[in-house]
Symmetry: C2
Subunit: 369 residues, 2 copies
Amino acid sequence: MAIKFTLHKTCAQSGARLGTLETAHGSFETPIFMPVGTQATVKTLTPAQVEAIGAKIILSNTYHLYLRPGHRLVEKSGGLHKFMQWPGSILTDSGGYQVFSLNDLRKISEEGVSFRSHIDGSKHFISPEKAIEIQQALGADIIMCFDECAPYPADRSYVLPSLERTLRWAKRCQDAHSNVEKQALFGIIQGGMYHDLRARSAEKMIELDFPGYSVGGLSVGEPKPLMYEILESTVPLMPAYKPRYLMGVGSPDALVEGVLRGIDMFDCVLPTRVARNGLALTSFGKVVVRNNPYAEDFAPLEEGCDCYTCQKFSRAYLRHLIKAEEVLGLVLISIHNLRFLMRLMEKMRQAIREDRSLSFAKEVLAKLL
Amino acid sequence: MAIKFTLHKTCAQSGARLGTLETAHGSFETPIFMPVGTQATVKTLTPAQVEAIGAKIILSNTYHLYLRPGHRLVEKSGGLHKFMQWPGSILTDSGGYQVFSLNDLRKISEEGVSFRSHIDGSKHFISPEKAIEIQQALGADIIMCFDECAPYPADRSYVLPSLERTLRWAKRCQDAHSNVEKQALFGIIQGGMYHDLRARSAEKMIELDFPGYSVGGLSVGEPKPLMYEILESTVPLMPAYKPRYLMGVGSPDALVEGVLRGIDMFDCVLPTRVARNGLALTSFGKVVVRNNPYAEDFAPLEEGCDCYTCQKFSRAYLRHLIKAEEVLGLVLISIHNLRFLMRLMEKMRQAIREDRSLSFAKEVLAKLL
């Protein structure tokens, strides 16, 4: 098998789980946060810096790599790990989310989705089979089924046929997937904000017996309490002995809430995207680095943080870099933000180990808000 | 004394010299190239990356730091070394070059230069005394006299009074400089493209007995052969036992030619600036990374280069990053370009040691062009 997941325990205080996930590119404890490297680079950082942050697995985007530089080129170079020189594990999404986000530029049929490139307007077609072909060429350790992520809000009358098609596509992905010994294909549970549709999607997806499952279609604009409700009804339906991945979620509070509800894996562009706006994540909330109060603040972004940025630089220096539009500002805040999420997950794992995930989560959330 | 310069030898084949320069922040062999960190950051790179490249001394710009974040803020933070977390040596220019480059935005008088900020249009005045005050607050190991860099071309009738004023300003800088035990103040030889005016500037500057001298006002648009001619007449007039610094020069060929003519120190934004345009410096000339032939070129930028970029990444990957406008592309090419110049200077020093600087230079130049 391409991956091995071992569930060590579930916390006595919540649904939070401690596990180990092994791939051909390493072994790591879950729950875990995966930094996003959309275009075969975690934005602004070298792989050495991403490793130093403690990342073990990153996510890369099939849609983007298919368009540029092209999956065949990545394959020729020896696969995505070698191309981008990332020694750890990689998960690729299926491209579904990006393709569906193109709105006016795409057209859905039973066969797949035709769309125009956001780069040059060129015409393309991705089917479930094509999504698997691309992901096999890229060679990530974990790959995803081609699915439709329904928008929010969406009527039942939209969501039901969409999730049924996503189920048929999942079967086609499974049939097309030949590289099962090297790549684990995960199924994606959809169903919008409808508990019964989520249950239906979960039941049918589980029948296909994938080595792991994600919850898709959340964090698409709905209120957070609604997302947590959906998790509460959906996660318990997922197999306990397989990894559970909540796609596209990465704000510190949502990570904590997701872990409490039994999620093992997360990814999100948030820590690197907000860094590019000069926004730092800390355990006492967001810090807008360019704000005046930091002009002569010679303390680190966050006392006690062990990241390169906090070990070396002051808020005053970071503010200077951001105001002067220096790239190093984005680099240093990205390093801190990613390390902050890595440490948050480390602390969550320790809390689960010690059966105090809920008390720890309350403490964290109170300080964040 | 703030610095100690030891001249080990002059090459039997040319005017090239091997020396050691010691400051409170380290000791290094000359000739040396200084990467530029205009706004207290070598663009796109962390100090750790700049150290890994082998840089021992960097240059930072007084004009920029005076305007933003302000020299008093840098002083409060503990000085420029601490502010930007650069453990090696630093040289600051005087701001003269930048202020004079403002053209319509500045007005020169005997007292100094009034100008408007390129950032917000605010009014400022820098005199020789002010330039020293700012540089003392920044706390670099080597600081420079406030001078006028005459434009090219410029009539004798412009250059002569300009260099005379620069001489008077140099005396005022020396008188204003109180921190002589910690910071070495260098004099700047001007004189445009006129050999006799250069000689006059050199003679009078040397009378002031600075611990080091630079040749300013070159690489301002004149043909390179003319720059080399000026060096050939000017450098021999400079004290042998003091460091000689050619300001603003950093193309690989000009570095080699400068070393042959007895220059010990160089700085230039070129390696990082061209990196931002996706241009790599190599020993066989420039590589335009985005060009089509590199699309499936899985070799490193330069075979045999020991930089992080060449040790890890292919031209195909770098091209992908540049085409996808990923910051990491600029970072990786900046690393290579700086390391390329560091290695070039290492090889030059070795050639001087072995009395073969001219033969080595010919070899290098033939491959470059």
